[in-house]
Amino acid sequence: MIWLDVLVQGILLGGLYALFAAGLSLVFGIMRLVNLAHGDLIVFAAFAILLITATLGLNPFLAALLAAPLMFAVGWALQRFVLNRVLGKDILPPLLVTFGLSVALQNGMLEVFSADSQRLSVGALESASINLGIVTVGTLPLLTFASAVAAIFLLNRIFYTTALGRAFRAVSDDPTTASLMGLNPKSVFAIATGLAMVIVTLAALYLGMRANFDPSIGPARLLYAFQAVIIGGLGSLWGTLAGGAIIGVAQTFGAQINPEWQILAGHIAFLVVLLIRPRGLFPRAVD
């Protein structure tokens, strides 16, 4: 029974990784931009939530609700004033700008918040669990997974049934033609990055409630997010959920065998998928 338990824990952990991945996938899908500071932005959002809970004495869920529009503004401004200037045929400038941002953010947070581990405290919910008969699962992991499913569902709805989603798809396919139709691709990009930062806030909320975080853990989150995106197949949001689950299961199984192998097992699962199915499990995009 222990292995079934490990499997379920792994899948639920995958929900968190899918939340990490959804924002990365959204931004890449719309503007072919890989944001190397994605993991650090997640940590940044976690500190923002922490700061709001500490100053206003709010519950982390409410604090995240306040942090979300702030992070939207951060994402919008980042895209509008920095990233839009370097987008183009050449992939090098945006990569290097976001890499510089990653280093700057990490060290800025280190100065402001120190290297101490932090946690978003939610009292009894942290240890609450639900007995499902064959396995007992933590309420918080279950909530994480449910939020990931809800977030991906909503993102898909936005993408395929709203005017904003149509704009996203149009500028993604052909920014020149889209701008002939009265869209300003740069504004659309800014909204997309803002939206990605809202998902980042949600990811940060669960990251901070489930485990300790400190300014240095961003890059590792970026790697998990990236692996979930690639395993799922570029352009598929539901794919990132599957990808996250695969990384999560590999990590919990690795940890069960030897705690030192947890992270390594996740990376190796990613490499195995890349070996067998280089385009991921559910590829949509052709590029």
Binding site: F28, V34, P93, L95, F99, A104, P219, L223, F226, V229
Partner: protein
């Protein structure tokens, strides 16, 4: 009659100046203080790493964020040669190059499968995997690391000769040896890159970077060119990594596979100096060294400022300091641009 050449008057003068500088560099330990030799060792090794990154990213369009894998594996292979096989540290540097070469094969295999910009994170993942695996290697200290044994560092080939020649203590003589090796590696790397860029393969590399499909359509074997350049750069990076750790004599997975030290700094050097030019990293490493000496005590603030500086450079001067100089003056010390020269037939006998 016509002729295609990359040579200019400036490049001839630069070439002569470079030879003179190398000569000065070689005899420098005879009169320079030890601290200068140590600083130059740092500058030369960072310069070599930056030139190699510039080769694959700036000239080859392969933006790697996983160069720390090659530095780390190179350093660890050298340690393994010394500790497990009883090699002298200097020849063991070659093991570092070999190990980096062997690691680059699977890394290229996996990372080349990733579309566009995801290549960068792919290389990062492989570097992480390598670090985690090496941290399991208990004979070499596992996660906490280990030091080169005193017997190995005390009688490195050539150190005694250098000590007698310059009248130095052993420790200072080791610095001189490491400095000479760093100078040799830096010169060899830059000469090789320059030769490559002026060759047909270099032209093919630029074509692949600028437009993969167009390059292929005129018969360039894009995959082969990328593989060759990636493997060569990885091997050289491994040699540099091993050399750095011969000098440091103490290793740990976190330090040897540090993203900040071996990739972030290296990228900043290339970006600030100017990507896609041989002159860029040379200028960049001098700026970086100046900043490092002046501000390194500020720790995270310093790194924060470097990150911001890199962003600002990409936004306002994407071709770096050398790009600015080149735009103003048209100066190119190591030109790779091919120019057509018409030779007047009438003036010929």
């Amino acid at each position: 009659m016509h002729q295609v050449t990359t040579r200019t008057r400036a490049s001839t003068i630069a070439g002569i100046a470079a030879l003179a500088l190398i000569a000065v560099g070689l005899i420098l330990p005879a009169f320079a203080p030890r601290s200068l030799i140590q600083d130059l060792f740092f500058i030369l090794t960072m310069l070599t790493l930056a030139q190699l990154w510039n080769l694959i990213a700036g000239f080859g369009g392969m933006v790697s964020v996983g160069q720390q894998a090659f530095v780390g594996i190179g350093a660890y292979a050298m340690f393994a040669g010394v500790i497990l096989m009883g090699w002298d540290p200097v020849p063991a540097i070659l093991l570092g190059g070999l190990a980096a070469f062997l690691l680059a094969i699977p890394m290229a295999f996996f990372a080349f499968r990733l579309a566009g910009a995801y290549f960068a994170i792919g290389t990062w993942v492989i570097a992480e995997v390598t670090r985690l695996v090496i941290a399991q290697w208990k004979t070499l200290g596992g996660g906490t690391g280990t030091s080169l044994p005193r017997e190995a560092t005390s009688d490195i080939i050539g150190v005694e000769t250098i000590a007698n020649l310059f009248g130095l203590r052993d420790a200072a003589a080791r610095d001189v040896l490491a400095y000479w090796l760093a100078l040799g590696l830096a010169v060899a790397t830059m000469a090789a890159i320059y030769a490559l860029l002026r060759s047909r393969t270099g032209l093919a590399l630029a074509a692949v970077r600028d437009n993969d499909n167009a390059a292929r359509s005129v018969g360039v074997d894009a995959r082969r060119v990328k593989w060759i350049v990636f493997l060569a750069a990885a091997t050289m990076t491994g040699l540099v990594g091993a050399l750095i750790y011969v000098q440091t004599a103490r290793i740990s997975p976190d330090a040897a596979f540090s993203v900040t030290n071996w990739t972030a700094y290296v990228i900043f050097i290339a970006v600030i100096g100017g990507i896609g030019r041989l002159e860029g990293p040379i200028l960049g490493v001098l700026v970086f060294w100046g900043l490092q000496t002046a501000f390194a005590d500020y720790g995270s603030w310093y790194l924060l400022a470097l990150g911001v500086l890199a962003i600002a450079t990409m936004l306002f001067a994407p071709r770096g300091l050398w790009g600015l100089i080149h735009d103003r003056t048209g100066l190119s010390l190591f030109p790779v641009q091919r120019r057509l020269i018409l030779i007047d037939e009438r003036s010929k006998p």
